[in-house]
């Protein structure tokens, strides 16, 4: 990790009169990383992003962006931050192109029609460029939010559920665009309810619930540590029992005695090894399936464990 992280949050707490929205959250994000922040509704994801982006007044703690403490130096880092908010908003008076030009201007950028056209093309909005924004469909309005967040070429982008309500095609296009941003050195913080999205894009995963950051880990390490692969085997004929060695390793015969299953976890035997042992035992195998580990299952396990899983930041 570089000496100065792009985003450095230390002991961040946000209390509302009847709710602790964030409790002692600490997190560092290096340049060029795609970080996915996951958690159930009301977990504190949007509050955390809001506290970094100037929408939420923190109760205590510090937030540094590019080394600037937002408490004492709030404006300079904002030139390099972009936000796709969770709530769709639109300006009823102006066209898509005008809105993008205004947004670039707010960030101190002079008119750059080429940049606007590039974003319109990337988000499939070119034909809507001269349309008044209030007449856009819900999905189009969300695309415009994404364009607004990127028009000033930010170095740190927050995508708060950017693909909620958009079609599959745009979702794939956006994923490609996020990868392009990463390749250019942009840091991306993503929240999403589409876990496939986080699985596809993220370098690291953070899981938050009830305002507490339960876990931060490299995606691949997390999947290896907490992910589960399920091996399902169907036999050509009824089996009375599995070889003792397989049973000892956790393989279970199905109730109809025509199949067996095994859940591979961190520290258990590997599914292909057990499959090899089945073949070696001359058992007639008709069908084999191996279901890959899903981030969704990992998330559920961590949430059910209430943060009991080890946290590494």
């Amino acid at each position: 990790m570089p000496e100065t992280p792009v985003l450095d949050i230390a002991h961040l707490t946000k209390r509302f009169p009847k709710l602790v929205a964030l409790e002692d959250v600490s997190l560092q994000i290096p340049q060029g990383e795609i970080f996915a922040l996951l958690g159930p509704n009301g977990a504190g994801k949007t509050t955390l992003i809001g506290a970094v982006c100037g929408l939420v007044k923190k109760t205590s703690g510090t937030v540094r962006i590019f080394g600037h403490d937002l408490e004492t130096d709030p404006l300079p880092p904002r030139y390099f931050v972009g936000l796709v908010p969770q709530e769709v908003n639109f300006d009823p008076f102006f066209t898509v192109r005008q809105v993008l030009a205004f947004q670039a201007g707010f960030f101190g950028k002079k008119a750059d029609p080429a940049r606007i056209e590039e974003l319109l093309a990337a988000l499939d909005l070119t034909s809507k460029g001269d349309t008044i924004t209030r007449t856009l469909s819900g999905g189009m309005k969300r695309r415009l939010l994404i364009a607004k967040a990127l028009v000033h070429r930010p170095k740190l982008v927050f995508l708060d559920e950017p693909t909620a309500g958009v079609d599959v095609e745009l979702r794939r296009d956006l994923w490609s665009y996020v990868r392009k941003l990463k390749a250019e050195g942009t840091t991306v913080v993503l929240t999403t309810h589409y876990l496939e999205e986080a699985e596809e894009l993220a370098d690291r995963i953070g899981i938050i619930d009830k305002g507490r950051l339960l876990l931060v880990e490299e995606k691949s390490a997390l999947m290896a540590r907490l992910g589960e692969r399920r091996l399902e085997v169907r036999f050509g004929q009824t089996q009375t029992a599995l070889p003792a060695k397989l049973q000892e390793q956790g393989m279970v015969l199905s109730a109809d005695q025509m199949g067996a299953s095994f859940i591979e976890r961190h520290g258990t035997a590997k599914a292909p090894a057990l499959l090899g042992q089945l073949y070696a035992a001359n058992m007639e195998i008709a069908e084999v399936s191996l279901k890959a580990a899903k981030l969704e299952d990992v998330l559920l396990r961590v949430l059910q464990n209430g943060g009991g899983a080890e946290v590494s930041a």
Binding site: G54, L55, K57, F94, F106
Partner: protein, 253 residues
């Protein structure tokens, strides 16, 4: 200071009200002109001269003030309030726009609309009454400071309001009584006591009298006091608005 950002937000504010000129410029111009025609021509014909000028000419500064005050107030209050309600406030908060940038853009935008309506009203009035003798310095001072103060008051109302009902509270219960009892259509000097003395506590009286001095040359003892009062209001409203914007009052959670 984010100069490009401030200029962009100011340009957006002006273009916003120019997108709907019928509502933001023409409508107030017509209502003020109707006041002028009804009060000036129909009632004015039965009035004797006031302070040595015909009644129709006497009410012009007050009507110009009405156009400025109402429209400056409405522009900043509704613009900020709509920004909050529609969620586009996020676009401003996430950008490098501090309290000073927001203040300049919203206030100057509102002043432009207030002054536009006020000056157009004056133009219509001049068509009927002819060019009076002027104190240009005083006229410009009172036009600018009145539009500034009411733009600031509108901004404060827009910050405070969370419901549509609240945004209408100030114009209905605060501005309307103060302006109609502020000597727009009559001379405060003609009021019997204690109403004359009570009227002097209404700041609008001093703004209207100041404009009357500037636009008609009618000298009053309170002109200097009116100018000082406007300067004090300018400083107080600016300080309060700046402090509230800096603290994120009703803008950030």
């Amino acid at each position: 200071m984010n100069v490009v950002g401030t200029r962009t937000l100011l340009s957006k504010e002006v273009r916003r009200f120019l997108k709907v000129p019928g509502q933001t410029v023409l409508s107030p111009l017509i209502s003020t002109t109707l006041y002028f025609v009804v009060f000036g021509y129909t009632l004015g014909a039965r009035q004797t001269d006031l302070e040595g000028v015909p009644y129709i000419r006497f009410i012009v500064p007050g009507l110009v003030f009405l156009g400025i005050a109402n429209n400056a107030f409405l522009n900043s209050s509704s613009s900020l309030f709509i920004t909050k309600i529609q969620g586009t406030l996020v676009d401003l908060l996430v950008a490098p726009l501090g309290p000073m940038e927001l203040l300049i853009a919203f206030i100057v935008g509102a002043m432009v609309r207030g002054l536009l309506v006020g000056l157009l009203t004056w133009g219509v009035a001049l068509f009927f009454t002819g060019m009076p003798s002027l104190h240009w310095g005083a006229t410009i001072f009172f036009l600018l400071t009145a539009s500034y103060v009411f733009s600031m008051l509108g901004l404060l109302a827009g910050l405070w309001a969370e419901k549509f009902e609240q945004i209408n509270f100030f114009p209905t219960f605060f501005m309307l009584p103060l302006t109609f009892l502020g000597g727009v259509f009559y001379s405060v000097d003609k009021l019997p006591e204690p109403f004359r003395t009570l009227s002097l506590f209404n700041p609008v009286v001093h703004m209207v009298e100041g404009l009357r001095y500037g636009m008609l040359g009618l000298a009053h003892g309170q002109v200097a006091f009116g100018a000082a009062l406007l300067l004090v209001l300018t400083v107080i409203t600016t300080a309060v608005a700046y402090a509230l914007l800096k603290s994120g009052y009703k803008l950030k959670v």
